[in-house]
């Protein structure tokens, strides 16, 4: 009896049990697809965090008022604490004391709501700054123009806005040259910033930038700066720049030891490694979830295969009784199991690829190639083993035992 003939038997077996074939295939497909998609989501979100950090630039440093890390301000020294000022910012531009600093931008931030007619928008980022901010923060414009140093000295009421804010306030119309009221003050929109996308939880395009002088004059008064954005000459000189700026600010604020410091410096490079290691943790976690779903899927496949063979033990008995050798039966069942697993696996991979095209909870999934091979390989191994092993046991029975099987 030829192999071709046995393959024909296998296909006929699958066709005769259409419903079971379809359900088994579906089970394997879902298992494979879910593993691929889960890992793609994990990978995608970690890629997104990475690229948004990349966009910030690894050569930028951020000086923030207060000692220690974010949220851990040195309250003990509150009375001696000096705020960050424009003068501090200017001091950092000293090329002799700070040769590794390329440029510096002050940031004063506020919370405010912008209104145009009945449309309102509360930008998640509402900064007062000056033009060196653009390069230091990797901000560019898609239309209109930047505000200039002249606008800053004149404290003009002009603003750059992000895409999200523009859409909320002006809909599809071009915002350039239009006016809006933010925190009660009227501004002319002169530029629309290029789309940044979201970084983690914050929408980078929900943005209003105005000259720092305008903000101090009209909205916040003489409030201290929230941050000073510092750009090092190169990403390799970021650490040197950090040392220089720390020395300058220490001198200006009369700091003698790090414990009493009233400002802290954040280095994007170190932030990047923290973020990527935490997103790696996230991917690992998702990988574990995927492994569990693969396991559960595998148990499902095992179950279906076992039931199938048990269900067909009588048939195996009949085949043996009319002269089928064990090898022919075993080959037939192995081929059936292989076709089922392959079909399910391939459909699962396709479904995984299709599913990964959709944005899931704001994350664009990015497929991990290894996950495709893993999910596909494991499901086929499980399918073939648990389809083949019980079939081989049934095929070893004496026909009369197999026939008695109910």
């Amino acid at each position: 009896m030829s192999v071709f003939e046995i393959i024909r038997f296998a296909f006929r077996g699958l066709f005769i049990n259409r419903l079971r074939t379809a359900l088994t295939t579906l089970g394997i497909m879902i298992g494979v697809a879910s593993v691929i998609i889960l890992l793609a989501v994990g990978n995608g979100s970690s890629k997104a965090i990475q690229s948004s950090l990349d966009r910030l630039g690894t050569n930028s440093l951020q000086v923030r008022s207060g000692g220690g890390g974010f949220g851990f301000r040195a309250r003990a020294s509150a009375n001696t604490q000096k705020p960050l000022t424009i003068l501090d910012t200017v001091a950092l531009t000293d090329k002799t004391q700070a040769p590794d600093i390329k440029q510096v931008a002050p940031i004063a931030s506020t919370n405010g709501t912008c209104v145009v007619g009945t449309n309102t928008s509360t930008p998640s980022t509402f900064y007062g700054t000056w033009p060196s901010y653009y390069e230091a923060s990797n901000t560019s414009i898609q239309s209109g123009s930047y505000f200039t140093n002249d606008d800053v000295t004149q404290a003009r009421r002009v603003a750059l806005i992000g895409q999200t804010t523009a859409t909320a306030l002006f809909g599809t119309a071009s915002p350039i040259g239009q006016t809006m009221r933010c925190s009660g003050i009227q501004f002319t929109v002169i530029g629309l910033t290029a789309v940044k996308g979201s970084s983690g939880f914050q929408d980078g395009d929900s943005l209003v930038l105005i000259p720092i002088t305008t903000m101090e004059n009209t909205i916040t008064g003489n409030q201290p700066l929230t941050d000073i954005l510092v750009e090092a000459t190169k990403s390799t000189t970021a650490t040197a720049a950090q040392t220089e700026l720390t020395a300058i600010l220490d001198a200006r604020h009369g700091i003698t030891g790090r414990k009493t410091a009233d400002f802290s410096v954040f280095n994007q490079a170190s932030l990047l490694s923290t973020a990527s290691s935490s997103s790696q943790t996230f991917t690992t976690l998702l990988g574990m979830v995927a492994a569990i779903s693969l396991l559960v899927g595998g148990i499902g496949i095992t179950n279906i295969m076992l039931v199938t063979v048990i269900e067909r033990t009588r048939e195996i008995g009949i085949r043996k009784a009319i002269g089928a050798p064990k090898s022919a039966i075993l080959t037939q069942f192995l081929i059936e199991a292989t076709i089922l697993s392959l079909l399910g696996g391939i459909l699962g991979v396709i479904a995984g690829f299709v599913g990964s095209h959709f944005t899931i909870y704001g994350t664009k999934p990015v497929i991990v190639p290894a996950s495709v091979f893993l999910a596909f390989g494991v499901s086929i191994l499980i399918g073939v083993f648990f389809g083949g092993y019980p079939a081989s046991r049934a095929a070893s029975l004496r026909p009369i035992e197999a026939l008695r099987y109910e």
């Binding site: 009896m1 030829s2 003939e5 038997f9 006929r12 005769i16 049990n17 048939e315 008995g317 009949i318 085949r319 043996k320 009784a321 009319i322 002269g323 089928a324 050798p325 064990k326 090898s327 022919a328 070893s396 004496r398 026909p399 009369i400 026939l403």
Partner: protein
Amino acid sequence: MAEAVEAVDSVVDKQPVIEVQNAIKRYGVGDASIFALNGVSLSIEAGEYVAIMGPSGSGKSTLMNIIGALDIMTSGKYFLDGIEISSMDENHLAIVRGRKIGFIFQSFNLIPRTSALANVELPMAYQGVKPKERRERAMVALDVVGLGDRVNHEPTELSGGQQQRVAVARALATRPALLLADEPTGALDSKSTGDLLDLFDQINAAGRTVVVITHELDVAHRAKRIIRMRDGKIVGDEINKERVA
């Protein structure tokens, strides 16, 4: 010299197809065990037509399964065409079943959701008969049992008697040297029974060995030898004088 060859030939001729020696088949262990076969010895020569009779539970099917190489015995020996079957492994047994034996089961045992034609073709497929020849032989066999117009029906679409006839066609199509039938007329009316018995006569006339289990006296009386069983033992073994002159 020539005489010696003739003598050997005649001995070979006389050699029984089936030789069962002191077969015991025991189910269960200890006090609860029962002997389905309790020391059965039997020999059937090539070309014989034998009927096995006996009350329900007397061990007829058990004996038939052993003769058909479908089951093994607890102790005893079984030779088929001089080859010891009782010590053969499963793979060789499969070949023996396919090549020598046509088995008609008490409970039909057709493959579910598979057409009558495919069912009849199956044993030939395992023997390596070419698809075209296989199909022709299966069609002929189904014609012979009167199901020429039902070849594409699946078992569930056939009556009990029709299923039984598919099972008969399946056993006949391989042209086995030994035809074993366990209650082949159980599900048939008197007309179909008559047709089937005529068929058995023809098969036997062509030189094949036929062994039939039956409850019905008129079926048994078509055989040339009648064996009676009771409680796992052979209690009667006689030539049917009506048929053998």
